[in-house]
């Protein structure tokens, strides 16, 4: 029972905490994001296992976490509203070569992030070449180049 309850509570906690942190926190774009992910993973593991190192405990936890994952994905499938609440929505941050400032400030994304994504995804050189830049739900920035580029 311990394992299941711990798994549930920790999963819910992480869900809420990362929702509070905003889209970019786990984008894994920079070294710091990666380090953060590592540390969170380590801390979580300690809390979940406690001093119970049995195989049974490990299996119970894995099954619990997967079950929650499946359950959530079923719920999200049934209810688009809950899906939006839990996962968020994509956000257009550049339109027709012009950055949408208020949105970028609130989403804590700057021009450099957008330009970097543009270089990586499409090999673009300048902001004007970007038709749309979208901050996706998982924190990555997707780029659509201007027609003819």
């Amino acid at each position: 029972m311990d394992a299941v309850l711990s798994g549930l509570i920790v999963y819910a906690f992480l869900l809420i905490v990362f929702r509070i942190s905003g889209k970019r926190s786990l984008g894994q774009v920079t070294t710091f994001d990666f380090v953060l992910l590592l540390i969170v993973a380590e801390t979580t593991q300690q809390a979940l296992l406690g001093d119970d190192y049995s195989i049974t405990n490990a299996f119970l936890l894995i099954v619990t976490l997967l079950a929650i994952d499946i359950g959530l994905s079923l719920i999200k499938h049934r209810s688009p509203r809950l899906d939006r609440l839990i996962e968020g929505l994509p956000l257009v941050i550049v339109e027709g070569g012009r950055p949408l400032r208020e949105r970028m400030v609130r989403a804590r994304v700057d021009d450099q992030d957008v330009l970097s994504a543009a270089r990586i995804a499409q090999g673009l050189e300048r902001m004007e070449q970007i038709k749309y830049a979208v901050l996706e739900r998982n924190g990555t920035i997707s780029i659509i180049a201007q027609d003819g580029e």
Binding site: R19, R84, G88, L89, G96, Y132
Partner: protein, 171 residues
């Protein structure tokens, strides 16, 4: 509320700015909660800080117990019993804890270690051999809880009434 499908130019994307704004507000509120939690932790509300350290003394002043008000399960909890002065009987100093208290918290170690422990209906007693004339003494008990919750008990010396001790344990 349905997501407004916004065809910005020819971009088909399910954007919902109203929901997004609410999400941003939720974020800001969350950050404030983070800050409050961190502040509370630094101050000692979650164990290990200034606010949590407590000391309780017996009426006659001979016994004092230093203990943390807030502590966490699965982590060491130190109780320090000070006797000023110790009153050994027959060359032995006896310290006791109420039974439920000792049952609730595992005893990791006692420093200095007692020569023996004696169980009773109401108490568990720790017996330390004593040498020399009566004087001040201090014993540290390191305990560990395996679950969260509120714990109360009494700790005392010899035949005294002891002093009340309580902890709020975080899981």
């Amino acid at each position: 509320m349905s997501a407004s499908k916004r065809a910005a130019g020819r971009l088909e994307i399910a954007e919902d700015l109203a929901l997004q704004r609410r999400a941003w507000v939720f974020e800001r509120v969350g950050w404030i909660v983070f800050a409050v939690v961190l502040l509370a932790a630094v101050v000692g509300l979650f164990g290990g800080g200034v606010v949590g350290d407590a000391e309780v003394s017996a009426a006659d002043g001979a016994l004092a117990v230093e203990y943390p008000r807030f502590a966490r399960a699965h982590s060491p909890l130190s109780i320090r019993v000070r006797l000023e002065p110790a009153q050994p009987t027959d060359g032995e100093l006896r310290l006791w804890m109420s039974r439920e208290y000792a049952a609730r918290l595992d005893i990791d170690h006692v420093s200095p270690p007692p020569s023996r422990t004696e169980l009773g209906a109401e108490r568990i007693e720790f017996v330390f051999p004593w040498r020399g004339p009566p004087g001040p003494a201090a014993v540290t008990f390191v305990l560990e809880a395996d679950a969260g919750g509120s714990v109360r008990g009494r700790i005392g010396a010899g035949d005294g009434d002891g002093v009340p001790v309580r902890h709020l344990l975080y899981p």
